[in-house]
Symmetry: C2
Subunit: 267 residues, 2 copies
């Protein structure tokens, strides 16, 4: 389904790049990304009008959505949307009939999307949506939640990766989850670290004698000894590149599950 970008980019064709994020149109990381890749092609940004972190692959089904152009610069045209990151991608593809992207980028996220964070990440939700419709897509995240984080050390890696993917595309059904430590000293391809979040809520009593819960917690890496995961390479100071799929089938366990289901004899 994924057509390598180069096949679609005839010599006279300037690549079209769609950029979104989940930290909102105002996030520093988004504008850094626009600046870093603007020389590669024609850029349109469709980003949430407010922070939509933790939105995963959520779509808006009950309320109407709108898209509004808010600014044009030499680098890009900027639009906001009142939906989720996935809504931003879906609407951009629906509305801009003259702008079929050669590449979809999401980020640069303020904060890690390594390990199982991909399950909750709005940044990666948008990337997986690009993957579903067969467009090469990459998510970028920096391991800092600071609104004023310094994204500049990521720049050479982003430029190199974007140039490469524009030239060669990505395999069918595969997108990339790229995470950066504060000062990357190289880039490594690796798998998603298995793990989970623990101690996840802080409870606060309310005046009515009830409890309100606020999300908190920390990531537990269940394979801390593994030397081939994104968490490992990030801890070693490398940028991590995890090839991701939107096919969630657990192929390795198909035969065990088949045996389990076949053993069921219904009356």
């Amino acid at each position: 389904m994924t057509v390598p970008a180069k096949e679609r980019t005839a010599s006279s064709h300037r690549p079209k790049i769609l950029i979104t994020n989940d930290d909102s149109i105002d996030a520093k990381g988004l504008h850094a990304l626009v600046t870093y890749v603007s020389a590669f092609g024609e850029i349109r940004v469709v980003a949430p009008d407010r922070a939509r972190s933790g939105q995963s692959g959520a779509i808006t089904t009950k309320t109407p959505l709108s898209v509004q152009e808010v600014r044009r610069s030499d680098e890009a045209r900027f639009y906001t949307c009142n939906g989720t990151p996935v809504d931003c991608v879906k609407l951009a593809l629906h509305i801009f009939r003259d702008f079929r992207p050669d590449l979809i980028l999401s980020g640069i996220n303020h904060g890690s999307n390594a390990g199982i964070s991909i399950l909750y990440s709005g940044t990666m939700g948008a990337v997986l949506e690009g993957c579903v419709v067969g467009i090469p897509s990459i998510g970028f995240s920096l391991l800092s939640y600071e609104p004023d984080a310094d994204f500049l050390p990521c720049r050479p890696y982003i430029e190199a990766l974007v140039a490469k993917v524009l030239a060669e595309g990505l395999p069918q059904g595969v997108c990339l989850n790229v995470n950066f430590p504060l000062s990357p000293q190289g880039m490594r391809v690796c798998r998603q670290a298995p793990g989970y979040w623990t101690d996840e809520y802080e409870g606060c009593p309310t005046a009515e004698g009830k409890t309100k819960y606020f999300l908190t917690g920390r990531f537990v890496n269940v394979e801390p000894e593994a030397v081939d995961t994104d968490e490992y390479f990030l801890a070693q100071g490398f940028a991590s590149v995890v090839p991701c799929t939107c096919d969630q089938t657990a192929y390795k366990e198909m035969s065990r599950i088949s045996a389990l289901v076949e053993a069921i004899r219904l009356k």
Copy 2:
């Protein structure tokens, strides 16, 4: 990480089953599921206080959450939560220290979660969350969006599958996405059908001369000839069982992506 349910269920132990959904605490499919499995153990329901379809793996990060017991019956204790399906699972595990589930069930969803719908599904978001924390988890969906749909034909399959998984557990890192046609005539293990949604929005002009977009569209199966996908078996009248993983690494393409990244020479 997943401990087979039987190892945790000593002879005197009555299995604990946590049930959630994304159609809300009031949905018929949820109450059908409670009824069908109540004989298997102690049931607690923590479900969204309103419809949260399309919420995927979304988590609530900015607003406080609360959980409220709304009813007790002979079958179950019912709680509502103002969060997403994933929030419901996370909060249940956090709050109920005396109720570590042996099994997490989600549904029965009103509508299909076959094919790539798993990416957007709140029903399956909750199931994947159970998988992340190592608890055997199953999502059930019926191919009808009717609020008053007839779930009874699913009952024998649900009972048989729940009994089997309670007895044997599931492989580590694997959960199940089960979809039912209206009158299932058997159950088949299969892979997630690849595809995407098209013609996704209806645009309506507003009084201010702008456009509001409403989500709509239809699923396009990009491998309609395949005879091993959930979409295929559902069309043939079978219930589909897709083993799913929360590891989104595209292992099959690791070497191609490694070659792509290794070819990048940074100055």
